[in-house]
């Protein structure tokens, strides 16, 4: 905490203004306008660019300037506070810390000579991105609105979808320097009270200087480090509303269009909003495609390498001949070839992502067409290997949520398959399975509802039943929490 934060506001206007100028270091964006209101010396402070000049002029300055003469500063302050509704958000400021926090949040603050309090008026008017379709989490039949970087509009987007007083918001200020607004959101009748308490404690434990992206807060919401995210992220208000309805809690912050949601289960990575818009049979089919895609993206290159190197007898004759012919003149070993192609893909993907969009397209063409074609033509990479890698990578796009973990684990699986065949893949697979089974998100096992097994939950995991059936479920995530007792091991 900075030294000035707890300093009380001095009574003299001269001193108040001197303090403000001193603490702000005469910063160019501090607007401090001395003026007489009702015959009393006052000053209107604001931060340039954070307030709306038009609103400020019409709703605050104009009515204040028309005030009749006041006997003293106390009468002026109480008149403005009690008889004039100049803004809906009207905090009273008693210390310099609050004063600066309000100024930097788009408030205009009226300092009055002889008063140890100042009056704040919410006049926010800073520039912000308009609401548009989110860049990720694309869907066909859902809404095309996504969160933006301002917290208040995001909260209103959520409120529009949940018009109930049971939807609760709790504001926190985080970051000793950034003073970022962070909102906790939950449905009061659905959320487990101890989960809410745990999340408040987790946020309180964060003693950060700044909170710039949700990534700053995420580690505090993940109790155990895991390869897989135990906190889900969404930039869609409709998705968030659905998650809150299941008893989850969201953490939203000013400056980011992403909301963090806890607890997160692994099966959520395979669910999209469109699943609930399509016909159940098609949604169930898509679910299975996603499960298959996950296995393909993780294991296909490794199994291909393992079978080709260690268990060729398990391949059918045609495939074996095809592979033998293709790999006969390759200069690299199969595992090296597979790892090399995947690393090359990651390089091209990263280049396409970071470069300006105009150049990014060119990188994709150079990477995909020129390098890929040249590598095959020159004999550096075999066509079957390129095909297998392309299938694996494309399958990964179907479950983007798991992409970071899959990208890294895929390389380890290839190495294990190349060194020790299916035995290596099996061992690494078991280690990964144990890792998953060990992971928890605030006491919720991420492998639920598969393990612990909840047969009734399978209707929205292995398949997707219609809303006629689902409407009677009253499902909340609390059902997946393993109950108390003594700790095992």
């Amino acid at each position: 905490m900075n030294s000035y934060e707890t300093l009380p506001l001095p009574a003299s206007l001269e001193e108040q203004m001197a303090y403000l100028r001193h603490i702000a270091g005469n910063s160019a964006d501090l607007l401090l306008n001395p003026v007489k209101i009702g015959g009393i010396p006052c000053a209107l402070a604001a931060c340039e660019g954070m307030v709306s000049s038009a609103v400020l002029g019409q709703l605050l300055i104009e009515p204040l300037m028309q005030l009749p003469s006041m006997p003293d500063s106390s009468a002026l302050a109480s008149h403005i506070r009690e008889r004039m509704l100049l803004s809906l958000d009207r905090p009273i400021v008693r210390d310099l810390g609050t004063l600066f926090r309000l100024l930097h949040s788009g408030f205009a603050v009226l300092l009055i000579d002889g008063q140890t309090l100042a009056l704040g008026f919410g006049m926010q008017g800073y520039e912000k991105r308009s609401i548009s379709e989110p860049s990720g989490e694309a869907n066909v039949m859902g809404a095309h609105e996504g969160f933006i970087e301002s917290l208040r509009p995001n909260l209103s987007l959520l409120r529009r979808r949940m018009k109930t007083p049971l939807l609760r918001y709790e504001m926190h200020t985080m970051g000793t320097l950034s003073h970022t607004d962070v909102a906790l959101c939950w449905m009061d009748d659905r959320v487990p009270p101890d989960l809410l308490r745990s999340i408040r404690e987790a946020l309180a434990a964060a003693e950060l200087e700044t909170v710039i992206t949700p990534g700053y807060l995420q580690p505090f919401l993940e109790k155990r480090s895991s390869l897989f995210n135990t906190v889900s992220v969404t930039e869609r208000p409709d998705v968030l509303a659905a998650k809150l309805l299941e008893g989850r809690i969201a953490v939203m912050m000013d400056g980011s269009p992403f909301a963090l949601v806890v607890p997160k289960l692994l099966v959520e990575s395979f669910q999209t909003l469109d699943d609930y818009s399509f016909k159940p049979y098609y949604a169930a089919f898509l679910r299975w495609v996603k499960y298959l895609a996950f296995l393909l993206t993780l294991l296909l290159p490794a199994v291909y390498v393992a079978l080709s190197v260690h268990h060729p007898e398990l391949l059918n004759r045609t495939l074996l001949l095809l592979l033998t012919k293709a790999e006969a003149d390759e200069p690299l070993s199969l595992p090296a070839e597979a790892i090399g192609v995947l690393l090359m893909y990651e390089v091209i993907r990263e280049a396409g992502l970071r470069l300006p969009k105009v150049v990014g397209g060119a990188v994709s063409i150079v990477g995909g067409l020129i390098i890929g074609d040249a590598a095959v033509s020159s004999g550096l990479v075999s066509t079957p290997m390129l095909t297998v890698t392309a299938i694996a990578v494309t399958a990964g796009f179907i479950v983007p949520d798991l992409n970071p973990a899959v990208t890294v684990m895929r390389l380890f699986f290839i190495a294990a398959g190349g060194l020790w065949g299916m035995y290596g893949i099996g061992l690494l697979g078991m280690a990964l399975l144990f890792h998953l089974c060990h992971a928890e998100s605030f006491g919720f096992p991420v492998t639920a509802p598969f393990s612990p097994f909840y047969p009734t939950a399978m209707r929205d995991v292995l398949t997707r039943v219609g809303f006629r059936t689902m409407q009677h479920g009253g499902f909340t995530v609390e059902r997946f929490r393993e109950t108390g007792g003594r700790r095992v091991s």
């Binding site: 199994v303 393992a306 079978l307 260690h310 268990h311 007898e313 398990l314 391949l315 059918n316 045609t318 495939l319 020790w420 065949g421 299916m422 035995y423 290596g424 893949i425 099996g426 061992l427 690494l428 697979g429 078991m430 280690a431 399975l433 144990f434 890792h435 089974c437 060990h438 096992p445 492998t447 598969f450 393990s451 612990p452 097994f453 393993e482 109950t483 108390g484 007792g485 003594r486 700790r487 095992v488 091991s489």
Partner: protein, 323 residues
């Protein structure tokens, strides 16, 4: 913190039980099925009344130590079984020691994750096992000659001997007081599923594998080589994965239970898994399968039935005396 659900305990017991069935060295005849079913029935009848009473088994330190010792020996025996069955399971690792070292490194990680993680993992592994059995049955279907399966006395003794290989029963006592649900129903489900699996395996080995599968070492693995559901592509890769998964589950559970008991007895002990796994490896190399098999067969009835029964009776006598 967490308890074990009935489904998880059932899966853990079944995986251990099925492993022993997969490692049956030979199937002399259909009599083995009847002998084994009789053995399982006796086990069930002995255990059901014991589960009714509160034995206070692990309130006594020496009981915990004996159980921990048993799991250590059972783990070493499992390592010997794995080393012996590995060539039949088409493992592609050169040298048994490399395979063992890799397995131990994996188990070092998995056993450190704790029994809870193993319990959560068990139903998933069991699901894969069920899928493999389905594929195996589908593949073996076309080779089945039902006339090969007829009543014969051969194998009754070998089947009855399976009574002494149920290494999972002591585990039931350790995990019983963590169970959330009915222990009786779990035990009943376990016995039924295990009997069903054994019946299927014996039936398939005799009718589809014929004399070849019956006389070969590890009939299950011979059967997997014979049973291929697809004409163009062999399915052995799936069985290799299954074998590895079961290996890891076996060793992890034995090491995890030993560590759990030791850490409960001596709370200052921490991170015992590496030492336990190395001891298992040392025991398996030093004593060999026969000695370890004899030891576990001798200890099993004592741990699974003898000690709980004695303690239960003593407790009841004390209560009567007090009344």
């Amino acid at each position: 913190m967490n308890k074990i659900t009935s489904c998880q305990l059932l899966s853990l017991l079944l995986l251990q039980g099925i492993w022993e069935i997969l490692c049956i060295p030979s199937i002399p005849g259909s009599g083995m099925l009847w002998g084994a079913l009789g053995a399982y029935l006796v086990q069930l009848l002995l255990l059901l009344p014991l589960l009714h009473g509160e034995t206070g088994l692990f309130r006594r330190k020496w009981v915990g130590l004996v159980f921990a010792g048993y799991f250590l020996i059972a783990g070493a025996r499992n390592l010997c079984q794995i080393a012996s069955a590995a060539p039949d399971a088409l493992l592609s690792v050169s040298g048994r020691w490399t395979a063992a070292a890799l397995l131990l490194v994996t188990c070092l990680y998995t056993s450190a994750a704790g029994i809870k993680a193993a319990a959560r993992c068990a139903p998933l592994t069991l699901g894969l096992l069920a899928l493999s059995v389905l594929i195996l049955t589908a593949g073996a279907w076309q080779h089945i000659v039902p006339e090969r399966f007829y009543w014969e006395r051969g194998g009754i003794r070998e089947g009855g001997a399976l009574f002494f290989t149920a290494a999972e029963l002591p585990m039931l006592w350790v995990l019983r007081h963590r169970l959330e649900g009915s222990a009786h129903r779990t035990l009943l489900g376990y016995t039924l599923a295990k009997s069903g699996f054994l019946a299927l395996l014996v039936f398939l080995c005799i009718t589809a594998g014929g004399r070849l599968a019956q006389s070969a070492d590890y009939p299950f693995f011979t059967l997997t080589a014979l049973s291929q559901p697809l004409q163009g592509q062999r399915a052995d890769a799936l069985y290799i994965l299954l074998f590895v998964m079961l290996c890891v589950m076996q060793i992890t559970m034995q090491a995890g239970l030993t560590a759990h008991l030791l850490e409960e007895l001596f709370p200052k002990l921490r991170h015992t898994a590496p030492a336990i796994l190395l001891t298992m490896l040392g025991l398996s190399g030093g004593l060999g399968f026969r000695t370890l098999d004899g030891l576990t067969a001798m200890l099993l009835p004592v741990l699974a039935f003898g000690i709980p029964c004695t303690l239960l009776l003593l407790g009841q006598l004390k209560r009567r005396a007090a009344a």
